[in-house]
Amino acid sequence: MPQLGTIATDYAAKGIQIIALNYQESLSIVQGYQDTYPDILFLLDDGSIYAQYAQNNYIPLNYVLNHDMVQTVEYWEEGYNEGQVLDTINAVRSKLVATLVQGDDTYALGETLSYDVHVQSWTLMPTAAYVVVDAILPTGTTRRLGVAYLHFTLGETKVIPREHVIPMNVPTGNYRIRVQVGLPTNDLWSADYFEFTATP
């Protein structure tokens, strides 16, 4: 884990998600690792997830997954070869990375929801893509909040401030705001989301 810890901050800044699945480990120990390495998401595995991913029953086991819709396996290895892992990540990672910067955690109906959409280019080539923002309602229904086709020059970052008045007639509960960047219909390059609670 210290090996992963050294790359975690750098890769989190590039929009790469590192998840550590701790196999049959106590909560207190995992909590300690989470405190030490905040850029890694630590999850508890009773063994049922490892059982689906195990190759030859060897730990540690690492997978690199693509940013596409089905999260394609690009690489796996038993043990940890940092060079191979980083080479794979650099080869497959998205040209554009989207992140959402959330306002508040809770809004009352009728209040104005505000957040920023950040899209950063990680390629040396000019590129363009659709940026789509959706709200997923507590009912599971998806409502489109905006679409833009944006061009990016070398290493450019665009920040798009967004505001929406939450209608009085929508359900209260947990909402998810999601941004997706890519090309129609299923070429997903990057995505991010945040959640908030709508109250009466």
């Binding site: 884990m1 992963l4 890769y11 929009g15 790469i16 998600q17 590192i18 998840i19 699945l21 701790n22 196999y23 480990e25 909560l27 120990i29 995992v30 909590q31 690792y33 989470q34 998401l41 630590f42 999850l43 508890l44 595995d45 049922s48 997830i49 490892y50 689906q52 991913y53 195990a54 190759q55 030859n56 540690p60 086991l61 690492n62 997978y63 690199v64 997954l65 693509n66 940013h67 819709m69 089905v70 999260q71 394609t72 396996v73 690009e74 690489y75 796996w76 940890y80 990540i89 497959v92 990672r93 989207a98 997706q180 890519g182 997903l188 390059w189 990057s190 995505a191 991010d192 989301y193």
Partner: protein
């Protein structure tokens, strides 16, 4: 001779099947297997929540 080749082919096929059975996890080019697990604060996280992100999944234990 032909019968002997047939037996060898059968043994080879059986060995290959057993080898593939050991390789149970997803292979390169396969879609990842969906799961849900809990973080240290008790919040659930599903793999599909991270669609659109290049990911490194690290199965490990400190013991």
């Amino acid at each position: 001779m032909t019968r002997r080749k047939g037996v060898l082919a059968a043994v080879f096929g059986l060995t290959l099947c057993l080898s593939l059975a050991v390789l149970a996890g997803p292979q390169i080019g396969d879609p990842a297997i969906e799961f849900t697990a809990y973080d240290v604060n008790g919040n659930p996280h599903s793999l599909s929540d991270f669609q659109g992100k290049t990911m490194l999944l690290n199965f490990w234990a400190s013991w």
